[in-house]
């Protein structure tokens, strides 16, 4: 009997601190699987900034750097420039990439840095207790939008992937979902493409993953996946953006 699905080498065999049904564990695993398949574990340097995934370095078994909140792409830019032979990626949440770090995001993309960005969009700040994120949907309740996000006072869900796609330095952007088994297979393909792009020197590549946060959505893990498919993916349409 053959093992057809086993633990990737690039993922340590430990329990994560993530809540039940959280998409981070899934995204970590998909990235680890791709790193194994591409045989780049010994070349990878990952950057995990502040957010729920700040201790991703406890889970991935390759070189990792912390980054201050919002600064992952500044840190990653420097690492890649200093060590162009390494494979450098950031793993950023919506608050990190599209609020406090918007400046770093736009300018790293505009410089066309040859690195890879994994952008976890779960429409909420998880680590700090479920506050409104730049990607929070209209009418979505969070601890700082108790009556639901209101466009008049809190603006609209920020579609940063579409914004970045306007920049000539950006070579590949795809929005995927972790909301169903077929979508997860597509997500993995996108992750692979974004890393292969870097290996081939193509340039700035970003994969946005719509990812469940059952705890701060107030839904069960299964309901969360359904919410991604039926609600979130309507606001953030899936597919190759550039």
């Amino acid at each position: 009997m053959d093992k057809i699905y086993s633990h990737p080498q690039s993922l340590r065999d430990v329990s994560t601190h993530y809540c039940p049904g959280c998409g981070h564990g899934l995204a970590h695993r998909l990235i680890a699987e791709v790193v194994d398949e591409l045989k780049i574990r010994e070349r990878v340097i990952a950057v995990a900034p502040v957010g729920c995934a700040v201790i991703a370095y406890d889970y991935w078994d390759f070189d990792c750097s912390e980054a201050a909140h919002g600064r992952a792409l500044a840190v990653a830019t420097a690492i890649k420039r200093v060590r162009p032979q390494n494979i450098v990626f950031t793993y950023q949440g919506d608050g990190d990439l599209a609020a406090i770090g918007t400046n770093e995001t736009i300018h790293a993309a505009n410089r066309g840095e040859n690195l890879t960005v994994f952008f976890i969009n779960n429409a909420v700040y998880g680590m700090t207790g479920g506050q409104m994120a730049p990607t929070t949907l209209l009418n979505q309740k969070t601890s700082t939008t108790p009556s639901g996000r209101c466009a008049q006072s809190q603006g609209y869900p920020l579609k940063i992937s579409e914004m970045l796609a306007l920049l000539p330095g950006v070579k590949y952007i795809e929005r995927v979902s972790l909301g169903s088994a077929p979508d997860i297979i597509k997500a993995k393909k996108a992750i692979k493409k974004a890393l292969v792009n870097q290996m081939e020197g193509v340039g700035f590549s970003l994969v946005e993953m719509l990812s469940p946060c059952p705890t701060y959505w107030g839904l069960s893990p299964k309901e969360s996946l359904d919410w991604i498919q039926n609600t979130m993916a309507k606001e953030f349409p899936l597919g190759v953006i550039k």
Binding site: M1, I4, Y5, L11, P20, G21, L26, A181
Partner: protein, 67 residues
């Protein structure tokens, strides 16, 4: 005959595997694990077709599949 193994102490009981298994071969284990929650368990070797959807969707990398 295909089968899966579940690392029951890593399982957080999110039940996503249960929701995707086309054969109903994964069920809740009434016995608490080390986390103090009810993990899932593999029900019968007869039903599993080795599709690996459970392993694909598991956020905690608890499942390995044999075929």
């Amino acid at each position: 005959m295909p089968k899966i193994t579940i690392d029951k102490d890593k399982c957080k009981g999110c039940l996503l595997c249960v929701s995707v298994c086309p054969q109903g071969a994964i069920v809740i284990n009434e016995e608490l694990n080390l986390r103090g929650i009810k993990p899932v368990k593999f029900k019968s070797e007869g039903k599993c077709v080795g599709c690996a959807l459970c392993a694909l969707i598991c956020p905690d990398c608890c499942i390995e599949v044999y075929k």
